[in-house]
Symmetry: C2
Subunit: 274 residues, 2 copies
């Protein structure tokens, strides 16, 4: 028997209760609304509580959907929708099958979640491109400084390899962009700050389409890419030298140059004049 309860306190809102709406009696006392939460949100809260309390850690297995539904006294549908939400946040992951690798696990997959989040909100113009670029500048300047101090040898080797890729002549603009993205993300990773790295990657992913569009409009591509590459090499030199200040300064200049060289990115940031 010995079943560890996953959660007791899911107090379902009984749907068929109308008793508080009496006939026109006094209703103006301080009866604040009760924040009606839907079923799947209650399930999310239950799972989230387990995570926040530390009862569920990365790698742990959740009960089967059917069992969870039975324990929480909700339908399997509600449980599945809750799992979808946490899965969308990169916190859960489901695998079909039986035995070892099957079931729903606590995972650590923030990358795809953050990328989709930022990509969509940038596309909806909720986060203006100008603001995203400002954030990018801040993050990568910080990452460069950290990387100059902390970067390991193999991280520097990775960066060197990426520069060699971009040094190949005749590289397509898309391939250049992808390698360039990897280069910048690798620097962020080398800095050792996981949040910097994830944010940097997500920002680049959210700007991929606009950047590629801007690339196609660059007239003297050979010249621009050569200058970008030259700046990359300088940045890498500063990282090798462990010069944090110089690495940050070069990165700052590099990103500003890139933005100014790409039409449509930094052109119309916000419609004011001050």
């Amino acid at each position: 028997m010995q079943v560890v309860p996953l959660c007791y306190n899911v107090t379902m809102v009984e749907n068929a209760h109308h008793d508080e709406v009496g006939p026109q009696g006094r209703t103006s006392t301080s009866w604040g609304p009760v924040a009606r939460r839907s079923t799947h949100e209650l399930v999310i809260d239950a799972i989230e509580e387990q995570i926040m309390s530390g009862a569920l850690a990365v790698g742990d297995l959740l009960p089967p959907e059917r069992e969870l539904a039975a324990r929480l006294q909700v339908s399997r549908t509600g449980v599945r929708e809750a799992i979808r939400v946490l899965e969308a946040h990169g916190v859960l992951r489901s695998e079909v099958g039986s035995g070892r690798g099957a079931g729903t696990f606590v995972a650590a997959l923030p990358t795809a979640a953050l990328e989709r989040f930022l990509r969509l909100h940038v596309a909806l113009a909720n986060f203006p491109v100008h603001d995203v670029l400002e954030t990018r500048l801040l993050l990568e300047r910080g990452s460069a400084a950290l990387a100059a101090e902390r970067a390991e040898a193999d991280a520097l080797d990775t960066l060197t390899g990426l520069l060699e890729q971009m040094d190949q002549p005749g590289l397509s603009r898309e391939a250049f962009n992808d390698a360039d993205t990897e280069f910048h993300v690798a620097i962020a990773r080398a800095g050792g700050n996981a949040l910097f790295a994830e944010m940097t990657g997500a920002i680049r992913a959210s700007l991929r389409a606009p950047i590629l569009e801007a690339f196609t409009q660059v007239e003297d591509w050979e010249s621009v890419s050569a200058q970008l590459q030259s700046q990359h090499h300088e940045i890498l030199s500063a990282l090798r030298a462990g010069d944090a200040e110089e690495a940050a300064r070069l990165t700052d200049a590099h990103i500003r140059f890139a933005v100014e060289s790409l039409p449509g990115l930094g052109a119309a940031p916000r419609a004011d004049g001050d």
Copy 2:
């Protein structure tokens, strides 16, 4: 800087690669798997495509779930799970009823989404507190500088009001923290960068529990809170004066002071095995 190396323990479950060895006969040559996507993911892609192409903008109404299911030739369940995912990202919002305000709309609600994302991944130790604090320092330094240049009069009034709240004697530590959070987020908002502001708010939300825990362990609370408040007033003065550099410097010092004053935040990040 005592920095934990952060092995970044991602126990990612890789998709099992089964090299298809046919039961009999030769193995298939280059028949790479087709990236099996589940139904709800296909629906997500369909909706996301509309958003990315600009066909769906904030405020637009989606077709009813039943109609969408019929058009996409999937079950209503799949559509609903997809809507849940986009809703979790703050991109969609569903309202019951009929007519005007009913249905599923494209929304712009990144706040709750980013807060839950960060809160969960911080709780799972996927993003170490140290890294989050480092990001906070970077963002708020930048926000302060921007706010010094761009802040409107009413934004400064809001900040003044929050400082008056915190100046009240006998304020509970929780109330102080909430007002303090509002103060810092308001500065970020005054800077005019939406992403800065959202990130700042999400970071504060993700650290709320650890901060409150640390607050209870502060011995000389009156002294610490008085110093924090004094720094707040100095920052606000710099903002009023429009001195970006000074505002950034003061904010930097303020946050470092706060972290060093609170036990358990910057001191012992969680040293495990290695």
